[in-house]
């Protein structure tokens, strides 16, 4: 368990001075994850996206640690190279320090275009932490659907319309896909449960080999809610079991870290966001039912996996 008094003494590795929207989930994810690295020497990276664009506008940078951005789909491969360079130079005695490595990607850069690069890096076993800040769409370029977009969400490339109720497909279960690589540590986290997230980050940084954190990172621009409501909405995602908090060790050992006392209906989460507004119009009851069914099925499946 992370101790907030101790965390308060840790150095800030990001900002102030970045240009993300106020209330942006990505910066909260990054700051909590970076706390998990403690005082360790650290190299950070990220994929192209809001987070990169808003933290590195040349000639300024919000990064107080060495940082690399390469392209959209290759954050994992890039950090593989950095980490391997480190191993090579360390082995040769040219570097003495212990250094940790972390890289960030949004859901587009992770679930979709960057999946191959991530998979390759995980399979090869590079010793780094990959953090997906999942805001469920391509937010940087104007809210286009991604593989992480939930069913029924209205996006600019899967808009709700006269004959459409938003994205028709299920979202991809990236956490399970990553776990199938049997890497040492995988966890799903949310900024609403800061202690859980920081503790999991600590575990991820301590893992011997690749570690992966999938963190719910809301986007008030894309989700259509008042910017100050972010953390509360993230909490509702957890309490409806839309976004369960759990961890997986070595691809097999599942552990649920938080079970809501009373599992809230998914509509509690959907109704807080403008992107699902159309679902509450008459005629869409079946869609709401099927979304609830899917959340229930996934939660049941997770309960079974964690009981094994």
């Amino acid at each position: 368990m992370a101790n907030i008094k101790e965390l308060s003494k840790l150095p800030e590795r990001l900002g102030p001075g970045h240009r993300l929207c106020s209330g942006c989930g990505a910066s909260i994810v990054a700051r909590q994850v970076l706390l998990g690295a403690g005082n360790s020497a650290l190299v950070a990276g990220c994929a192209t996206g809001c987070f990169e664009v808003a933290t590195t506008i040349y000639p300024y940078t919000a990064w107080k640690v060495p940082f690399i951005h390469n392209a959209f789909e290759n954050a994992a491969a890039t950090m593989s190279g950095v980490e391997t360079a480190y191993r090579s130079l360390k082995k040769q005695g040219k570097i003495k320090k212990d250094i940790k490595f972390v890289t960030f990607g949004g859901d587009g850069g992770t679930y979709d275009i960057g999946l191959q690069s991530l998979s390759g890096a995980l399979e090869r076993g590079h010793n780094f932490v990959y953090v997906c800040y999942d805001n469920g769409a391509y937010m940087n370029t104007g809210i286009q659907r991604s593989g992480a977009t939930p069913t029924g969400a209205s996006t600019t490339t899967a808009p709700a319309g006269k004959v459409s109720s938003g994205k028709p497909q299920l979202r991809k279960d990236l956490t399970a896909i990553v776990a199938a690589h049997r890497i040492p540590y995988v966890a799903q986290c949310s900024i609403s449960n800061w202690n859980d997230l920081v503790t999991k980050s600590q575990k991820a940084f301590d893992a011997k080999g690749p570690a992966f954190l999938n963190v719910m990172a809301l986007c008030h621009r894309g989700w259509r809610f008042p910017q100050e409501n972010g953390v509360a909405i993230a909490k509702t995602a957890v309490d409806t079991c839309f976004w369960p908090l759990y961890e997986i060790e070595n691809g097999k050992k599942y552990k649920i870290n938080y079970t809501p006392k009373e599992k809230k209906p998914i509509t509690e989460w959907l109704k807080l966001q403008g992107r699902f507004k159309h679902l509450f119009k008459p005629g869409n009851e079946e869609i709401l039912k099927s979304i609830q069914q899917d959340v229930d099925d996934e939660w049941e499946y997770l309960l079974k996996r964690s009981a094994l």
Binding site: T56, I68, S80, T84, A85, G120
Partner: protein
């Protein structure tokens, strides 16, 4: 120095160069006809003959991405590729150059799909000519070996800091066995020296820097301009490094090789292995009293304009042989650049273009002889029926 000449394919020769260079990191994916480089080098790693950390990536895109990460972290970094592999790297090839990372990449030239074809032409690297990489083209496997060693010094020179492609012809030299003189390991190590990055690296955690920031309207242009400046520096700096190389290893590498050009009237300009065939033709024509010459540029990026002007100002006519088409309707990529360079020459020869050898189509001595014959016909009649011609294609 002990002379050690052993039979090697061009790929094996390049892998031997990599063994002697002993980069800190190699990230590579296999693709025909480059594969033998990766396989041979992997065996060196497996046998503990090099200290290199190998990243057996899942694609060429990730190979170049990992190379960017590794080089930015301050490690001497190499990869190798061909054709579609280079095309898959494309996006990151540009990024590597823009970050001024001294990555060295042997490229075994192969036709770019489509249609898919695994044999030699230059469409892959010609397509990458504006990516900001230095490009060197080797006539033989032996020369590809030498260029790989030379390239390390060029890439890492503080006045250059650009990545380098070391190109050789797929199958023609990559898979043909020839006697290659391997230099002494220690002599190679001495020539390339220990790598000391010219920039703050990612692993210097006490001096944090940001690599790959977003560069908007207010700075992007200046950064591209600096890349051009680095290329301009390179054309001035490379001769010195080449001279050092030639002295250290008793070789005679040149930026632009002139063969029988002193009194030549008609010349062929051609890259890589085809120059060997053309030299054979020049010799036989010379025996018949024909004043034939040959110009072989080893460097295409930066473009050796002054060298080309100097060489071609001597002749009345020159034929540029391109192993790639550019679909411009005005000839191949090498022809376009040479014609552009010669526009500012005082002595302008007539220039014609021949596209040849696409997808590995063989070119024979009699094809090249026919080009010289065409040129002598033009010199006699003053008439050019086709500015751009195609050799050995069914029309």
């Amino acid at each position: 120095m002990n002379k050690k000449i052993i039979p090697l394919t061009g790929d094996q020769a390049v892998a031997e160069a990599m063994r002697q260079i002993e980069p800190d990191v190699v990230a590579a994916y296999p693709i025909t006809p480059q594969t033998e480089i990766v396989m041979t080098f992997s065996q060196f790693v497996a046998d503990g003959r090099v200290k290199t950390e190998m990243i057996p990536v899942e694609s060429e895109h990730s190979a170049m991405s990992a190379c960017v990460g590794s080089a930015a972290a301050g490690a001497r970094t190499m990869t190798a590729t061909s054709a579609n592999g280079l095309a898959l790297m494309w996006e990151i090839v540009y990024i590597a150059a823009s970050m001024r990372l001294p990555i060295v990449m042997p490229v075994v030239n192969r036709a770019l799909s489509g249609p898919i074809n695994i044999h030699c032409d230059h469409s892959d690297t010609m397509g990458a000519r504006d990516s900001g990489w230095i490009q060197i083209y080797a006539e033989s496997g032996r020369e590809a070996y030498e260029h790989a060693i030379l390239a390390v010094r060029i890439a890492e020179h503080s006045g250059i800091n650009l990545p380098v492609m070391v190109c050789q012809d797929g199958f023609i030299t990559s898979h043909s066995v020839e006697g290659v003189e391997l230099f002494d390991d220690a002599a190679v190590k001495k020539f390339i020296g220990e790598y000391k990055p010219n920039m703050t690296t990612l692993l210097d955690v006490d001096n944090p820097v940001t690599y790959g920031p977003i560069d908007l309207q207010d700075f992007y242009f200046e950064h591209k301009r600096q890349q051009t400046e680095a290329m301009k520096n390179a054309i001035d700096i490379i001769p010195g490094i080449m001279n050092e190389f030639n002295k250290a290893f008793s070789r005679d590498l040149k930026i632009v090789e002139e063969y029988m050009m002193d009194d030549a009237e008609a010349s062929i300009v051609v890259f890589s292995s085809t120059a060997g065939t053309a030299k054979f033709v020049v010799d036989s024509l010379r025996a018949k009293g024909v004043k034939a010459g040959l110009v072989r540029p080893c460097l295409f990026r930066p473009f050796p304009k002054e060298y080309i002007i100097k060489a071609l100002s001597k002749v009345k006519i020159a034929a540029v042989l391109d192993r790639a088409d550019s679909f411009s309707g005005c000839g191949g990529p090498v022809f376009s650049e040479i014609r552009s360079a010669m526009y500012e020459a005082k002595q302008k020869p007539e220039l014609i273009n021949y596209i040849f050898g696409l997808g590995g189509r063989d070119i024979f001595p009699n094809d090249i002889e026919a080009v010289y014959k065409d040129m002598s016909g033009i010199l006699k009649t003053g008439k050019i029926s086709n500015r751009v011609n195609y050799i050995g294609v069914r029309e």
